[in-house]
């Protein structure tokens, strides 16, 4: 007998094989798509077709539930790892002109003498996001917000590209380099805290996370406290607030002191 005769209903093995498989499929499909959906007393279906669609995972428009009113603005910036990835020289030049007004606080070389963040060599996507958030009100600061409100989209991109282009220079008050504290390299898994270094450098970098090496200790501490208290809320999906809230005051100290003591040129090792 050849294989051709196999694929006919005259062949017993064909009948049995196909029959059993088809039977199983029908029985399990009826159970999975009809019986079990209706067995859930907490879900109501209009009809059988409705139940089948639900069990099949057909996307459905949620019933007209209005989203809860947000009292404060949240960040609306969308970042990908390609945001501002390829700046051109002109954009950087325009950014340099625009950035003159930032120099009072952030320093003429992008390195701050006050406790404002150092911007020289910061990732463009990071500056881009923060400026947007200041502009929209998702993040607010008495000094920064008025600068940001009048910036156009293009100006924000240019400034971001300019600062990203500047070389990373040592901070003004270098302190001896501290060893990595636990929170930076292990996080605290039992409290759901990933290592700081997994996103902010020292271990790895993730899109939208600034590198922190050489930033002012006072600034870092203030931000962690603001995130923990909810005063600052422009982190997407509460990524940082969830962490900051779970951190102990000692961990906040340790992380801030560690990052402040690192020379920024170590950042290069991981990009």
């Amino acid at each position: 007998m050849s294989t051709r005769d196999l694929f006919t209903f005259g062949n017993r093995h064909f009948r049995i094989g196909v029959g059993i498989v088809l039977g199983m499929l029908i029985v399990t499909a009826i159970a999975g798509f009809v019986v079990l959906p209706f067995a859930q007393p907490w879900v109501q279906f209009a009809n059988v077709w409705d139940a089948i669609c639900s069990a099949a995972g057909v996307p459905q428009r949620a019933a007209s539930v209005t989203a809860p009113e947000q009292t404060k603005r949240l960040s609306e910036v969308v970042l990908t790892s390609h945001t501002l990835a390829r700046p051109n020289q002109e954009a950087i030049g325009r950014g340099a002109t625009l950035a003159q007004r930032c120099a009072i606080c952030h320093g003429p070389t992008g390195v701050s003498r006050a406790d404002s963040p150092n911007l020289a060599g910061q990732y463009a996507a990071v500056i881009y996001k923060e400026l947007h958030d200041f502009r929209s009100g998702a993040r607010s600061n008495a000094v920064m917000s008025p600068f940001a409100v009048n910036l156009t989209e293009e100006e924000i991109a240019d400034i971001s590209n300019y600062y990203a282009y500047l070389p990373r220079l040592p901070a003004y008050h270098p302190t001896p380099q501290l060893p990595k504290p636990n929170i930076v390299i292990y996080g605290a898994p039992m409290r759901g805290i990933a290592p700081c270094g997994a996103c902010h450098g020292s271990l790895d970098n993730k899109t939208g996370s600034p590198w922190l090496e050489g930033q002012s200790e006072a600034y870092l501490k203030a931000q962690l406290q603001a995130l923990a208290s909810g005063e600052r809320r422009n982190d997407i999906s509460q990524q940082m607030r969830n962490i900051a809230r779970a951190m102990t005051p000692q961990e906040v100290e340790a992380a801030a002191a560690y990052y402040a003591s690192q020379p920024p040129d170590v950042v290069k090792a991981v990009d």
């Binding site: 005769d5 196999l6 094989g17 199983m24 499929l25 399990t28 999975g32 069990a55 390299i185 993730k206």
Partner: protein, 540 residues
């Protein structure tokens, strides 16, 4: 008639060499995240190691064993020189090249994405291309197995295909089709993103493609082991296969139901409808059937051997078995581990019970017991059995072989039983660091420490295995005779065409894939709006 011995030896040696490296990494991982390890302060190194370990143990090692064994089966069961030797070497070198290509970015920390790829995490392009080359190399093998069988059939029209070859080709078809899922994921989704052509990816769809591969790949790993159960063990212990038809039915069932059940790996995923999860779960229950058939048939075959040796009584025959024969030992150990692992598997496949162990160390404990234990111990047995025929030299030190098998068995139990236990307690998998100083998990320190000890026993056993084979290359020459497979009690003279060919079962396998995967894949692929930005490893 083993003619192309160099080809088969090359597959085995490369397989066991990379196995040795990956085993060392595994033991190191176990140690470094345990309470007795001194933490290395860089989880990235752990994930590099884990990616290399998983990639080698999951893709490279078992594939090469199945290929080498497959060539040996084709030549000796069909008594026919391998057709397409040059292609076979091409496949082998593609795998070597692919492995090297994949391992370099892993070692450089550019592809710490783990062997399940984890999109939207995206690593270096060459890692994925390396994996693709490995798969392409193995597809050459699939084609060669089919061609060799066809050539043989031409010369022997209507003769029953020898069981070993029938099963071997079933395994190769299963692999060919199941690898398509991961291939689609790589070619359509991951590689365009890794190459910078796109920067978003549908992680949910990618996971569904991966599940297409992930379950049946397990049965592909298992095939050489089951072939050894049926066609080597009874011969090696002086018995016969209880039923040739039962054996064929088992392999056919694997072909049909191993494939459309992969969504039991996505029970916790929101992008799959509950109805499909239920169907996959129900079909998963069916896949226990061929394993139960096998356990029954093999126990019966072993009993035949015992009674031929003068064993009597309801259970008294067990004592009459040749317990000093490594093949007997390996089989017994394999069955014990298969039993425990199978029991654990029943928990994984149940929609509700799975929730309690999902993504915990239970899962890693489970697949190490089944795969590293029940399956790999039979790979050892296959190598021991084939070695004299491949090298023309005797494996002299049978005691050392027995010790090696005992150590692997003990090591696997000591490693995996506590591993399961901490999983039930909630210890997550794929974490690089655990703070055992925290009172909440301090009590798990003891169990984890036992696993570490087990891991080092396994490492010792693995090294012994490689040493035994290496010494076997220099032992005194013998004439091992032709390589033979076990005969059945009733050696078939004719076999119904359905049990002698694969077409019907391959057709059912593909049909069930379409019914069980078609809608969920189309829904996500055509629906749109479900992609997320890719996250590149080691890039800002």
């Amino acid at each position: 008639m083993l003619v192309n011995r160099k080809l088969i030896l090359a597959h085995f040696w490369f397989a066991f060499a990379v196995f040795g490296v990956a085993l060392t990494l595994g033991a190191w991982q176990m140690f470094i995240r345990s309470p007795i390890g001194t933490w290395l302060s860089n989880p990235e190194l752990y994930y590099r190691s884990l990616t290399a370990h998983g990639t080698v143990m999951g893709y490279v090692f078992p594939t090469l064993v199945a290929m080498g064994f497959g060539y040996a089966i084709s030549e000796s069961a069909l008594e026919q020189r391998l057709v397409g030797v040059r292609w076979a070497w091409t496949g082998f070198w593609l795998i070597v090249l692919g492995s090297i290509m994949a391992v370099i970015p892993i070692a450089l920390g550019r592809a710490s994405v783990l062997y399940t790829f984890y999109p939207p995490l995206i690593g270096n392009l060459f890692y994925y291309l390396g994996v693709v080359l490995v798969v392409v190399g193995s597809w050459i093998w699939v084609a060669l197995m089919a061609i060799n069988l066809r050539v043989w059939r031409k010369a022997h029209p209507d003769a029953p295909v020898p069981l070993a070859m029938f099963a071997n080709v079933a395994g190769s078809y299963l692999w060919a089709w199941t690898a398509v899922g991961a291939a689609l994921e790589l070619l359509l989704q991951i590689i365009p993103v890794a190459a910078g052509l796109k920067n978003t990816i549908d992680a949910g769809l990618a996971r569904i493609f991966f599940s297409w591969t992930l379950h049946a790949i397990v049965y592909f790993w298992l095939m050489p082991t089951y072939i050894a159960y049926y066609t080597i063990v009874p011969r090696a212990i002086g018995g016969r296969v209880y039923s040739d038809s039962m054996a064929r039915i088992s392999f056919i069932l694997f072909l049909v139901v191993a494939m459309p059940i992969g969504m039991h790996h996505t029970f916790a995923d929101p992008q799959v409808g509950a109805g499909f999860k239920f169907i996959h779960s129900a079909f998963t229950a069916l896949v226990a059937l061929p394993t139960l058939l096998t356990v029954f048939t093999i126990c019966a075959s072993v009993e035949i051997a015992a009674r031929l040796r003068g064993g009597r009584g309801l259970f008294g025959w067990i004592r009459a078995l040749p317990w000093d024969n490594p093949m007997m030992l390996a089989l017994a150990f394999s069955f014990v581990m298969l039993g425990f692992g199978g029991a654990g598997g029943l928990i994984n496949m149940s929609y509700q019970l799975d929730a309690s162990i999902h993504n915990t160390q239970w899962i890693t404990g489970h697949f190490h017991l089944i795969f590293g234990g029940a399956i790999v111990i039979m790979y050892f047995a296959i190598a021991y059995d084939l070695w004299p025929h491949l090298t023309g030299r005797e494996l002299v030190d049978v005691r050392l072989i027995r010790t090696q098998l005992w150590l692997w068995f003990i090591g696997m139990i000591v490693t995996t039983f506590p591993w399961h236990w901490v999983g039930i307690l909630g210890m997550p998998r794929r974490m690089a660091y655990f703070d055992f100083g925290d009172p909440a998990i301090a009590p798990q320190a003891l169990s984890v420490t036992f696993s570490v000890i087990g891991g080092f026993i396994l490492l010792t056993s693995g090294i012994m295995f490689i040493v035994i084979l290496a010494r076997g290359m220099r032992a005194p020459q013998v004439d091992a005779g032709p390589y033979r497979f076990a005969l059945a009690v009733h050696q078939p003279t004719t076999v119904p065409v359905a049990l002698n060919t694969h077409a019907l079962w391959v057709a059912l396998m593909i049909a069930l894939t379409l019914t069980n995967y078609g809608y969920p894949i189309l829904n996500l692929a055509l629906g749109g709006g479900t992609s997320v930005p890719a996250v590149y490893v080691g890039a800002q």
